[in-house]
Assembly symmetry: C2
């Protein structure tokens, strides 16, 4: 397929590479910043443009991967060409119109870190059954994990991803801070972080919870809270998440 990419951020970069590796032709890469467009375009053998008026309408599909707030306007501009228009946003509903769809990769991307795109879950949605089938075909050329997900479900996924990715990372950063304050090497915690994520690959997290809260080990929890005496916000995080663990455990036990 001939694909035009609107955007040159992390998602656009990784998706462009995946499309190219799968044998698709990237016709153009658009970014309002020409240098950004040119860098990505160079990597995938496309033409860089920084003005939507320079769009080549001969493309089969436009993939919009820009900030959520900018999607609607870009889509409106492109709609005159009557081609398939996809966006890649988890937080944005299906675009209005007859030939629209979503290709939401549920992964965190950094520009500098390689990702095996074939393993990235791709959540797809289309404006009708035929469009959805077409998007599914396209999605399957770059990932083994394609899921049909409607806009309401996608919103939940986007929220859940904050709990599964952004917030755990914030907790890692808290741990990093505690270690740094006490001249301890962050490498001490890295295997633990990895193993915890690894466990979630094979189990359901609710079934493998460990730590003082699930043991109702009040003594250890009080000791921990005391160690955080000069950081009331961390005490709050500690208490709230410990309470959550206990409630979750109570609910599981009540279910059995």
């Amino acid at each position: 397929m001939e694909i035009t990419l609107i955007g040159s951020g992390n998602v656009a970069t990784h998706m462009a590479a995946a499309f190219k590796n799968a044998g698709h032709k990237i016709a153009q890469v658009y970014s309002p910043n020409y240098q950004n467009a040119a860098l990505l375009a160079y990597h995938v053998g496309a033409t860089a443009i920084d003005n939507l008026n320079d769009i080549d309408p001969q493309t089969a599909v436009f993939v919009i991967s820009v900030k959520d707030d900018a999607i609607a306007e870009v889509a409106k501009t492109l709609s005159v060409y009557q081609k398939l228009i996809l966006h890649t946003s988890g937080a944005t509903a299906l675009l209005p119109g007859a030939n629209t769809g979503v290709l939401y990769p549920l992964q965190t991307f950094s520009k500098t870190k390689e990702v095996d795109f074939s393993q990235v879950p791709l959540c797809i949605e289309g404006s009708d059954e035929q469009i959805t089938d077409l998007i599914e075909q396209l999605a399957r050329t770059i990932s083994k994990n394609v899921y049909r997900v409607d806009s309401a479900q996608r919103k939940i996924l986007h929220l859940a991803a904050v709990f599964a990715c952004n917030f755990p990372n914030a907790l890692y950063a808290i741990a990093q801070g505690l270690l740094a304050e006490h001249q301890l090497d962050f490498n001490l915690l890295r295997p633990l972080i990895m193993e915890t994520a690894q466990k979630a690959q094979e189990s359901f997290p609710a079934d493998v919870q460990t730590g003082p809260a699930i043991r109702r080990d009040e003594k250890t929890m009080n000791n921990h809270l005391q160690l955080l005496n000069n950081q009331p916000e961390l005490q709050q995080v500690y208490q709230l998440l410990s309470q959550r663990i206990i409630k979750m455990d109570d609910a599981i036990k009540a279910d059995k």
Copy 2:
């Protein structure tokens, strides 16, 4: 070395296997529950006992891996033999006495899941320099990652491990719950969880934070809070961690 293990839980089980693989002899395994002692003893070619009076005093070192509350009493009972007595607890100070030490593995263990023990950070402490050297030698036979950590630092590590392991898992469980409520497959999130932990192996988490909070994307945060309208506790977690991310980012920027 000839080692006697007091305890048959997850830590004792994994450590016993590591000792055995490193060529040490496990003399006895003690558990108040004979079946538990026997199961572990069988795996490592040791004798099982369920009464501390049956201890063979000819061992070189006792490794106590029991619940924190029970460590002191067991150690007192064993102290009559005047051998090296180690415990494996992150939350417990060095035992009193002349031949005591700590061998704290900073990892989460499940009985059913293999762990490459050579990668497990082992935090060691001894009652004097000579004992510490001896413990370090022993520790290096089973792990490549041995760190000298005093009791005050170990407490911090234990606390930090809650933030790096137990709390992220609780957040994974929240995400799991959100998906289940909306008939979504938890497999959708597993690659994201893995990649987030993977990033922390190569970067410092505070440097690679992503998500709506660090972008100050109020619109998305408000949408997320609205989706959690019927779960005020999750709203609280969401708000507290989002505020934390913003504060952390402000602090980093102020530092630059």
